[in-house]
Symmetry: C2
């Protein structure tokens, strides 16, 4: 995607072919800072301190981190050390483990002198595969938006109103995004879109990252508090919802950022279609009932009681919102039952949020469920 007209990915090989460059996402939306990573230590820091975030991007960053680790020493010992240290940065991220396992398996079979070049090559390939998958989600999802727009346009509408929650955009991936890929593709196709961006408390990924993406891209959007979506839908101001997912069950239940379920309820109550964009690897074929079986991460209550922003003088400042005597709790995700999901938009096409729907796109998983 573009930032003020210049094409970017979230992670790329530096011009010298040795270092890796990333956008430091902790500095968004107020500062655009590119950081260069030259060592295992720096890659660890980038993941642990969330300069890069989003499951797909974390995986790619870890793969490049493995390459950086091998620059001076491509021995088995160094490879194991890199695996262990990178895995420890965000141990719950499924893509992180997947990418590290993939790298280790490929590199272990090579003689050490050949490992470094292969590590860079494979990390780049993982990045490209992510881009291709998300571009495909974009194409399939854009067809839905195109169909909706034909209907709305015929009814006299001047724009198609989309609502999204959290950030499932290109900043969470290498490029395109998952939930936002259809929006970018439809925007490229000339459909006049306007996106309602849920701010997404407590970490405000909507207000800071999704809004930032749309601002860079020149895509018409409006930030709203998470409380507003029901009202917007009651008044016909939302034509379709699209969100991402961290984990999708074999039955089509969707575990996504806390608050997604509330928007899905409002969509159902107002006849608004509710779609989820996801790459196949985020489907967990081992679980059916998401509400019952997906443990919900409890994060630092400080994310609820405090918030960071830019002060009038331009400094990044953290302020406290709650009384000193009031405790808080911070659930990271919730589960939207499949019955509230209109369709799942994957790299292989769109399907119903059900076991039958998913198996129609991923028939090779039939033995798993």
């Amino acid at each position: 995607m573009k930032i003020h007209g210049k094409p970017f990915r979230t992670i790329w090989l530096a011009a010298d072919g040795a270092g890796v460059e990333i956008i430091d996402q902790t500095r968004l939306p107020h500062d655009f800072v590119v950081r260069r990573l030259d060592s295992l230590e720096q890659a660890e820091q980038a993941i642990r301190e969330m300069w890069v975030r989003g499951a797909p991007l974390i995986g790619v960053a870890a793969a490049y981190g493995m390459a950086l680790a091998l620059r001076d020493d491509a021995s088995d010992g160094r490879m194991e050390e890199a695996y262990r240290r990178l895995f420890a940065t965000r141990p719950t991220a499924v893509n992180l483990r997947w990418a590290l396992d993939d790298m280790r398996q490929r590199l272990a079979g090579l003689a050490p002198p050949r490992r470094l070049a292969e590590a860079y090559r494979r990390a780049g390939q993982i990045a490209d595969e992510d881009v291709a998958m998300n571009a495909a989600i974009g194409r399939h999802g854009a067809e839905i938006l195109d169909d909706l727009w034909r209907v709305r346009k015929a009814a006299g509408a001047r724009r198609l109103n989309v609502l999204t929650h959290c950030n499932a955009g290109w900043l969470a991936t290498v490029d395109w995004g998952t939930a936002l890929a259809p929006i970018y593709k439809a925007h490229e196709d000339g459909i006049p879109l306007h996106v309602w961006v849920d701010e997404t408390r407590p970490r405000n990924q909507g207000a800071s990252l999704t809004a930032c993406e749309f601002d860079w891209q020149g895509l018409d959007h409006t930030v709203v508090v998470d409380n507003a979506g029901g009202h917007l839908m009651q008044h016909g101001l939302v034509d379709v919802c699209i969100v991402g997912t961290d984990r999708t069950t074999a039955a089509g239940d969707v575990c996504n950022k806390i608050g997604t379920y509330l928007k899905a309820l409002a969509a159902r109550d107002n006849g608004v279609p509710f779609y989820v964009g996801l790459p196949g690897p985020t489907i967990d074929w081992t679980i059916e009932d998401g509400v019952r079986d997906i443990p919900i991460e409890e994060r630092d209550p400080g994310e609820v009681t405090h918030i960071q922003g830019r002060s009038a003088s331009g400094d990044r400042v953290t302020v406290q919102l709650t009384p000193d005597g009031s405790p808080a709790v911070n659930y990271g995700f919730d589960v939207t039952p499949a019955r509230l999901v209109t369709g799942l938009v994957t790299e292989r096409g769109v399907c119903q949020a059900s076991r039958a729907g998913l198996l129609s796109l991923y028939p090779e998983k039939r033995s798993h469920v």
Copy 2:
């Protein structure tokens, strides 16, 4: 209610019997500041800038504002000017109009020299009536909590979990509160309560005011982001929701702080009872369909893009949350349709959220609908 053991109301006549004193609620939860109002302008400012807020308290503040306006000039012209200016401060608030109509009607029949004393007397009486009304809401609502607690206790629960949105506590009224009056009464009765407090973006009245009230009162509570309620209800962590209302239609639709509707949807989806506490005067007998007929106030988008809190050094600091290029919109309220409301808790008792239910408690309104 008490603040660290000392009884307070939210508005009271100053010791000199001329000025009016209020708690400046924009300074909570971090600073406790009492302000004195001596003029119509100050009363307007107090309401418009939300030093006082909450429908019942706004009504009382407007009544006192009328008295303050008449201090130098008790003519018909001045009274009309005060009516018009005070009404314009928060046009959505039905209590504001009710209090102003009541004041004007009583004062218009008096010769100007007698108006000032009557204005102070009647404003004080409206305040006392509000306290009595909310105490009655508390008694009726506490019976519901008591019944729920018997059932939960028999099932082995150690506490009754309540969820509330925004602040319909004593800070929103003169004393007791509307939605929170039943909680305070049940707490006094010894029921072991725990309240989930929605932070209530964008103005964070939950995180700042409701949390503050419970902290002062020693009532067990936890602050959550507005996104969390659905997850809590899915997991059986909420036994009952109680919220307030700014305006209730003759059919039982409830216009309350933006986001209330989303919680009502989640309550319905999970079989959690959803009650609304309201004093009779917030019923607007002239409308039926709240979604269609209640205009929703759009407030300053700056409340979405910026937030105020206490910095590490103890200063009140406002920080920007969104990119410079991203617009925001700020709807103040939404409408929860009567079909999602389990019951309305009024000063006259509890009824179904329907025309028939309301008329059973307010039979004198039968001619209105």
